[in-house]
Symmetry: C2
Subunit: 338 residues, 2 copies
């Protein structure tokens, strides 16, 4: 752990509940996590939101809070072309926040804003790590296996065997640094457990995984995911994305069915609690996390985040900074891809 | 509906409970479905099993039952090379049964035996339909959407756009003929609903689907499957197989969790009934079904089938014969692939 206070630039204008809930979450994080937060956005609005939140909490502005403000006059909204906005709105909050990291004025950036814009800002301003074609979107697929990450579940629909190796390296580093799993097991997701099973992509990736420094345990199948048969389960982003959404859909369908089945058998609040729990077990995408493969710490949170989720995202950024996630990724990618 | 009595050759030596449960299921089917069943296997064993079952039911052999026996002296067992067995055990029950269909002595064959052997027998003796590279394994992915079939979930791991079109045609015909859906909707499974989303395979298949005679409604996503957003959902067999097994695994994990959550909240039998129901909703592979793409009706059932499942498999064969499934497949494949 670093002794230095981690400084986090928060895009205070991004997200459905910006800036109010972002400001609240930032104050909470600064208090509870011992981080320094810089809110980036309209100075006028942010001062107002800060004063309001603190006075509701019975405090004066700045009173013991490690929360500052940096002005940014524009916002990139959902649906705009992020690439065009990069030129047309240089003073947008996400761009100002990301530049603070590039210039060493902050250790990380956190945004609940338009994902496309956060992604483009990260790639264009901070750059990708060597060997990365596109940043990776992996993480928990379902909460039955809290130490099992699936990579990729996002943008990388068509993959080469080497891309799968990159996902495996990223997943292993995240598993060690964020989940504190010391020697994470890695598996290829396939349609059969034996070596030689799989589509062409998996068959070609298998020997690469075997020769790597990864703790590779072979192929796993779809039913192995909820039973945590490996810490890092690797697949192309097309398969991963379909699985993630199928998990959500199946969870919803089960919850609907269970509500009908349990109706009048148990008290309403108890049914509510059981089904909410099952829903949460099958819905992980709401969490957000660091964009992986970027030369800097950028955490994207869900647009619907309220203060507690904002504080969580800030905490994720703090852990990523303190664990040297990006440096470790550089080292491990360098080692495997040379 | 044909007036003619459908005659079904049943491989009575295949399956974990052969021949006892196969014989029982065959008798049940002959009685309830008005089909003629020919049990194929060791004449001695089958006569004994028939007599035993009927006497337990208080009847003499042959008394009103439309169940015959054809002798076959060998059995192909799980783990044997099916291709080698084709030469080395010409008198194996599955081969004798399948040849009866080829020679017009039966309308369909049903087996609970070793899938590899049933498949090879079907391909080698009956042959594949024109345009079929490998028989297709599709069907229900989960029971939330009883009129939604996913094709392929089996052997076709690496697909070309044209293969997906074949799956769509097969799925549509099965949907019409077996599920009685009159104009089944067809969708491509993708990582985004909009046209242009998907991996290269889906992107290339999209225009083929658009130009086809299929009732194509575009892309659907993973969460659309349990909500029946299309009748036929098409993907490569690698993705489909992983989804099928993930569905089973997630179902098991949910059932385990729910048993713990509901413990002592409801009577034990009620918990049992709720969790058994959820298990069944997420486990469809046990059902078996016709091998699709073969020039004849061949129904594979699960190895663990007992009499009721055997009778179901025979019923599936009967429906396939009476609905002219194979002729319809030939016609539709010819129309789309020309």
């Amino acid at each position: 752990m670093s002794e230095k206070v981690v400084k986090i630039a928060v895009d205070a204008m991004g997200g459905d509940y910006a800036p109010g809930e972002i400001v609240k979450g930032a104050i909470q994080a600064a208090r509870e996590q011992g981080v320094e937060v810089v809110l980036v956005g309209s100075e006028e609005l942010l001062k107002k939101a800060l004063t309001q939140t603190l006075s509701l909490q019975g405090r004066g502005q700045g009173e013991g809070e490690n929360v500052g403000i940096v002005n940014a006059n524009e916002v990139i909204k959902e649906g705009e072309s992020p690439v065009a906005a990069l030129r047309l709105k240089p003073d947008a909050s996400i761009l100002v926040s990301t530049r603070m990291v590039k210039e060493g004025k902050a250790d990380a950036v956190v945004s609940m804003g338009y994902t496309g814009a956060v992604m483009v800002a990260a790639i264009e301003i901070l750059g990708k790590l060597e060997g990365i074609k596109r940043p990776s979107a992996g993480g928990l697929l379902c909460r039955f296996a809290p130490n099992t990450l699936v990579f990729d579940m996002g943008a990388n629909a068509d993959c080469k065997p080497r891309d799968l190796l990159v996902f495996a390296v990223i997943g292993s580093v995240v598993c060690r640094k964020i989940l504190n799993v010391s020697n994470p097991t890695v598996a290829l997701l396939s349609n059969g457990a034996e070596e030689g099973k799989g589509n062409l992509l998996v068959k070609k990736a298998y020997p690469l995984f075997k020769q790597s420094h990864l703790n590779f345990i072979g192929n796993v199948e779809g039913n192995d995911i909820p039973f945590a048969r490996a810490n890092v389960i690797v697949c192309d982003g097309f398969t991963g994305n379909i699985l993630l959404k199928f998990c959500e859909g199946l969870g919803e369908a089960l919850v609907e069915r269970l509500k009908i089945t349990l109706d009048r058998q148990l008290p309403r609040e108890q049914i509510e609690s059981i089904t909410n729990n099952l829903f949460a077990l099958t819905h992980t995408a709401e969490e957000g996390g660091p964009i992986l493969g970027i030369d800097g710490v950028v955490v994207i949170g869900h647009g619907r985040s309220k203060a507690p989720q904002v504080a969580n995202a800030i905490n994720m950024a703090k852990i990523s900074v303190e664990s040297n996630l990006v440096e470790e990724l550089k080292t491990e990618l360098g080692r495997e891809l040379k």
